[in-house]
Every structure is written in structure tokens, then in C-alpha cells.
Symmetry: C2
Subunit: 416 residues, 2 copies
């Protein structure tokens, strides 16, 4: 029998306990051992819980207990969770987490600390919730140079955009609805601003480089500026607007990374993911493309990925685990944002003249669209792949107050 501990008894922590209970037989069969929760750390007490007798307020009860070999960190954030993860690893406990903030911030240090102590630091659940993506990238696609990763990595924003698209409601109404249904938190900033997606694409990109890519260097734009009119334009172009995280390897040294709402052709397989679903497309130089799709969050899906990592740890108890920690180098992998290629739908008011716009975009490829209502200019800039973010920014600046919106396109949109 293997004994484990859970740090933090919130959504994920209590989900882990529930999965261990409901799937005890299959877990024993897979792990080759019974897995038992010996201790749970939380500042609160849960007198009605089936595990009520196992709660403690003192982390030492867990770290000094030689019977406990695996610790699930389900606290969240990069404060106390960081401190306790370090302590657990230093006490030779395997640590499993779904905490993307912690992995994206202190991943290299924690992985190295795990290796030094002969244990594992595992985080399959940190991206895509229950959808397998970390291990497939690590293991199944290990014979590929990964060229691109692109996907819908955040369920909350995907729900909001789906509702705006399907019902024509505006952003604030859709957000309120998501909060009422429990799909968005009361403080939804990390989701809405793109920060959550940014941390996740940084984690996936770090795996492909086996090198730390700092999420704070990734250009990130949220969805709060998307209007009902933008959605109407998307439909005219046979597109959906999705918040995408994108990684594109340029060479051995650099990659183009961005998180932003983008126009995505409806026929693109990623576009199949609506509501709270995630879809992650990976392209490798031998593989071609593969896509992973499913519910990217939720209590039990996320918990089931955490428990799968626990099972993996149990199977490696007393064996040096094999993981390739991310090296932290001084060089900067993330390409300077201004130098990245871009194409985008630009909507402008008719206060500005068409020649003035052409002048502002000085030689960039412009595909003009018909506005059926004739009240604004709409143009796709950069379809030839030669426009940079820097040049786009300059052009928009010269159009001054006339710009209504600018939404990037995921692929060339050339079907009109």
C-alpha cells in the first residue's frame, strides 16, 4: 500500500480524494498497489467529509511522516504552494500538481530540486485539465521536432466567446452568465486577460525546447475588447473568434509566441471546440499534425489527471525517475513581439479615407471587404505573410482615432 497526502482541499484537492474513492479498484490494478490518502492539509476543517479524521493544519505532519511518499499540491498560486512544494521535495516526496502558475513560474527550480532528491515533480493536469497533453508531448512525440502548437487553452473564455457567437449577446452579459454557471470565477481576470492561456502555452513550449520559456515575455491580449460587431464580421468571413495560444518554432534558438483572440476558419479542426472545451493542435516534423480535444477543466477531469500522475509516481517509487528538466538559460527564446509576422482584420470608421489607410499601411498587402451596411472600412492586412506586429502597430497609430477594432487571423483568410 502507498500512502499519499493532499495539500489544499478546494476544488482540485477534494476532486482527487473523490477520484481515489470512486475508482479505487482500477487505480489499484494500474498502480499495482492500493493508494491511500493518509493526510490532508487545509486551514479549514471538514467535519462532514469522509476523510474528516485525516485533516491537519501542520505541514510537518506530512513532510516528517516517512509513510507518505507522494504529495498532491492542490493549493494553487505561486506563494505558499511554492514553499510547500519545495519542502515536500526536500523531504524526498514525489510532488504532483495541476498548478500552472507555479509550474510556469518556478518549474525549472522545482524539477531540478526533484531530480536532486531522487523524486518526480509531475504536472500533467496543469494544461488541458483531464486531456492528456503534457505526457504525449514529452513521450509520444519525443522523436519529433515540434514546429507549432496552437490551441484553445482556457475553457472560461471559450464559453464566453461561444455564447457571444451563438446568441449575439455582448461580452459583459456572457461573462455574467459564465459566472452564474460557475464557469468563471468571481474575479475572472486571469482567464479574461489571457494570463491563464499564456502560462499554459509557456509550459507546452518549454517542453518542446526542454528549456524554460518565461511566460512573462509572451505578448498576451485578452477578450474583453471583443464586441458583438466583431462576431458579426467573423461570421461574414466564415470564421469564429477564439482565444488562441500559439507557439511557432523559428529555429534552434527562437520561437514566435502569442496569446490573443483570433479569427479562426470554421473548417479548422480547432474550431470544433466550443463552450468550455479545449483543443490543442501540435505539429511535428515527422508526425504532421495531431490534435487533442476535450473538457479542459472541471473538478473530476483535472483530478483524474492528477491521480494518473500519482499512479505513475507509485510505479516509479524507489527508482530514479526519468524526466528532462527545463534548463534555464540566459538567452531569450521568445522572438521580440514587434518582429513577429501578423495578419489581422482591421475595422475603421469612414472618417478616414481609403487612400489615407493605404498610405498608413505603406505597401502592406490589403484585402478590402464589403461592409453590407456601408458604415465602416474593413480590411484584412498582411495576408501575404510580410506584415510584422511592429509595422501593424505603426500603421494603426497613423490611422489615429479611426480604428474601431483589430483582430488577428490564425491562418491566411483567403477564401473571399
Amino acid at each position: 500500500m502507498i500512502q499519499i497526502a493532499i495539500l489544499g482541499y478546494g476544488v482540485v484537492g477534494s476532486g482527487v480524494a473523490e477520484v481515489c474513492r470512486m475508482n479505487r479498484d482500477i487505480i489499484r490494478q494500474r498502480a499495482g498497489e492500493d493508494i491511500q490518502i493518509k493526510k490532508i492539509l487545509d486551514i479549514r476543517d471538514f467535519p462532514e467529509d469522509p476523510y474528516a479524521d485525516r485533516f491537519t493544519h501542520d505541514p510537518a505532519d506530512i513532510f516528517l511522516d516517512p509513510d507518505i511518499s507522494v504529495v498532491v499540491e492542490a493549493i494553487g498560486g505561486a506563494g505558499i504552494a511554492y514553499e510547500l512544494s519545495r519542502q515536500a521535495l526536500n523531504h524526498h516526496k514525489h510532488v504532483v500538481t495541476s498548478n500552472k502558475e507555479l509550474v510556469a513560474t518556478f518549474g525549472p527550480e522545482l524539477m531540478l530540486l526533484a531530480r536532486t532528491n531522487g523524486v518526480s515533480y509531475m504536472f500533467e493536469a496543469s494544461v488541458g485539465g483531464g486531456i492528456p497533453i503534457i505526457r504525449p508531448l514529452h513521450k509520444c512525440l519525443s522523436a519529433n521536432v515540434i514546429q507549432t502548437i496552437s490551441g484553445i487553452l482556457n475553457g472560461t473564455t471559450n464559453y464566453i466567446l461561444t455564447r457571444m457567437e451563438q446568441s449575439g449577446i455582448d461580452f459583459n452579459t456572457a461573462l455574467l452568465e459564465a459566472q452564474t454557471l460557475g464557469y468563471a470565477e468571481q474575479n475572472p481576470t486571469a482567464d479574461i486577460s489571457g494570463l491563464d492561456s499564456c502560462r499554459k502555452i509557456a509550459i507546452l513550449s518549454s517542453i518542446t525546447f526542454s528549456e524554460f520559456i518565461d511566460y512573462r515575455l509572451i505578448y498576451t491580449e485578452g477578450i474583453s475588447g471583443i464586441t458583438a460587431e466583431d462576431i458579426v464580421w467573423a461570421r461574414r468571413l466564415d470564421c469564429k473568434i477564439k482565444l488562441l495560444g500559439c507557439f511557432r518554432r523559428q529555429d534552434e534558438q527562437t520561437a514566435d509566441l502569442i496569446v490573443a483572440p483570433m479569427l479562426l476558419p470554421r473548417r479548422n479542426p480547432i474550431a470544433v471546440a466550443d463552450d468550455v472545451y479545449n483543443a490543442i493542435r501540435v505539429e511535428g516534423n515527422a508526425l504532421g499534425e495531431a490534435m487533442f480535444y476535450g473538457r479542459g477543466a472541471g473538478r473530476l477531469p483535472t483530478a483524474s489527471a492528477v491521480v494518473a500522475d500519482v499512479i505513475e509516481c507509485v510505479m516509479h517509487i524507489n527508482r530514479v525517475p526519468h524526466l528532462v528538466p527545463w534548463i534555464k538559460k540566459e538567452r531569450q527564446i521568445v522572438l521580440t513581439h514587434a518582429d513577429c509576422p501578423v495578419s489581422a482584420l482591421i475595422r475603421l470608421s469612414r472618417e478616414i479615407s481609403r487612400p489615407a489607410i493605404e498610405n498608413a499601411f505603406a505597401g502592406a498587402s490589403l484585402d478590402w471587404l464589403d461592409d453590407p451596411e456601408g458604415c465602416e472600412w474593413a480590411v484584412i492586412a498582411g495576408n501575404d505573410g510580410r506584415l510584422t506586429e511592429g509595422a501593424l502597430g505603426e500603421a494603426l497609430k497613423s490611422c489615429d482615432g479611426a480604428v474601431i477594432s483589430r483582430i488577428r487571423t490564425f491562418q491566411n483568410i483567403s477564401q473571399f
Copy 2:
């Protein structure tokens, strides 16, 4: 440095050599060691090949070479490939394969033999080509009771059905086209008859049960009976016709398994897979659903999955590998076909009267469809989930010569 050997230098074998060559750096980085191909077994010689000096016609050159630790079996079939895989394992070589026929036929024996000899027998590439599915099922979803697996598992038949749907051409024309493009073999029987999909769904199902499920017990129907008129009916129902392999767990003991062409609603995520693409949907009791999508075959995608398994073996050299071999029990997991629930679109000629049909289906749920051309009866039988395959067979028999076609539905089709 780790030295490996390849048995069989056909499509997959030569692809493995190419992937090892083109991605040497990343493979070294992942495996922690250089991987070198020391010997290649084939009855032919390849004097122009970059590896020309490494060919041998004698398996003993490989099995008796203590420097070779991993053997890639890329011969195919369950004859000589079986014999040589046994010998390799008995000589304590790890064996990696993409050979679904061999895994589906002799999997339990080879896995046990590997365990006895302290090595691994790995087969990620046997299902889904380069799409990660075997390891995700084994590892990432290990904390779930897998309830269903359903998917498009064969690229050749998917290409043919896609072409029939998009161009209105008939089966034979589409097959010829697939052969011309190299998507179908000159003897396409294993694909067309559903046998290839059947072996793959048997492999996936065996993983979920950790128990051998014999593919020869799975009811399997191919696509050669699908007509252009069937495709027209599918479109009327806002469906596509796809060859699906389906596994549905009934309880601890039994599962409902089938391979057959089925009507699949276009809005179902699996339906996004057209042409030679595969899509595999997995449902777990904690996870909910996840889907894996990509090119299911092809030289380099398949080879990249084989090489990923080789890397995994290299990382486990001299360590007892952890795999859960499939137990071979006497009990029969596969539910008797006649007892399985079914719903289907039935097309009948107007030679038979509607009351006669209702009589034949004695009490089963029947949803009558309008034939715009008024020349035939079309009815969905079993939408209430209470029709069995046995009862359906009996009913069709009583309608005698009037049946034009019978195509199963993947889900209840109730949107009309």
C-alpha cells in the same frame, strides 16, 4: 550510445531509419544517449541506401549481438514477425512495433515473454499511426474507468467515404482513386472489410480491461456495400457515413463491441476527421470525454511513434519496465452480437407495404422519413434504445427481398 536493429525495411522500417537520421539531435536530447542503427534485417539488399553497409539476411547477426538492445519489428503480419519477435525478446532485446495484427493476435504472449525477460514490448504505433493514443490510455487516463471508445481508426476507408460524400462518386471509383494515390493497397481487403479497424479497437479495448479481447469475436462489417444513395440519405439527415470502431463497457465483465459503417451527425466532433485522418473519442468516468485526432497512418508519422517507443525503451534500459500485460482469461468479455442494442436507418422498396414493415418490426420504435422522390421507404428503427441486433436481423429477414440497405446510427438521430 545505444544500438538498435530494424527487422524489415519496408515503409515503416525505412521510415524509422529516416526519422532517426533527420531528428538525431532531438532524439539524443530526449533519450539522453545517441541512438544508432547497427543492423537491418531484410531479404533484399539496398545498395543505394545510406545504411547499405548495415544490412543482413541472418537474424542471428542481430539476436546474438550483445551491443543491440532494442529491436524494431517492422515486418508486419503474424507469421515470421511473431517468430522473430519471440526470439528477440528471448534474447533480452526490447521490441517495438507498429504491427497491429501481431499485437491483436499474440499480444498477451509477447507481453508476458517481455516481462519474463526483463524487457519491454511496445506498440504505440499500432493504433492511430503517429497520434498518441496507446500511452495516453495506459498512463494519462489510468485513474478512469473507461466507459466508451469510438472512432475512425482506418485512414483508407475514411478517404474512400470522404470522396464518395464530397463528389458523389461510387465505392469502386473512390477505391480506385485511393489506390492510385497510394492510400489503399493493391489488395485492400483488410482495410475495406473493417478487419484493420477491428484489430485496433480490440487493442484499445484490451488496454482498458488489462485483459485480452480477441478481435475475432468482434462483429465487423466493411464499407463495400455503401452506395451513393446511402450517402444522399446521410446528407438529408445532416450526417456523414463513417466506418467506426466502438467499445462500450457494460459492466466489470462485458463490453459491447462493433466495427461497422455508421451514420454520424455532422456536429459530432469525430465527424471533423475527413480524408485519411483518424479521430478517436474516449470517455472516462472522471474525465468525461477526450478526443485524439490526426493522420492515422503514413510512413513518417508511424515511424515517429515507433522511435518514441524506442526512446522510452532506452530510458528504461537496465530497469525493469512497468507494463500491465493483458491477462488471457477463459471468460468472454465481448457481448453476444445478437444481444447488443442497435439503431439503424433502413431503406426498403415500395414493393412491401408500410403495415407489413411495422408488422415485421413488431413493436420496435420506428421513425418514418420522407423520401422526396417517393420511390422507397426509409425509417429509423430503434431510436428508443430498445432494439437488439438479433431482433433487427429477424425483422429484416421478414421484410425479405424488399430491403435496399441497413446502416447503423452512431447516436440517436432525433433532430428531424
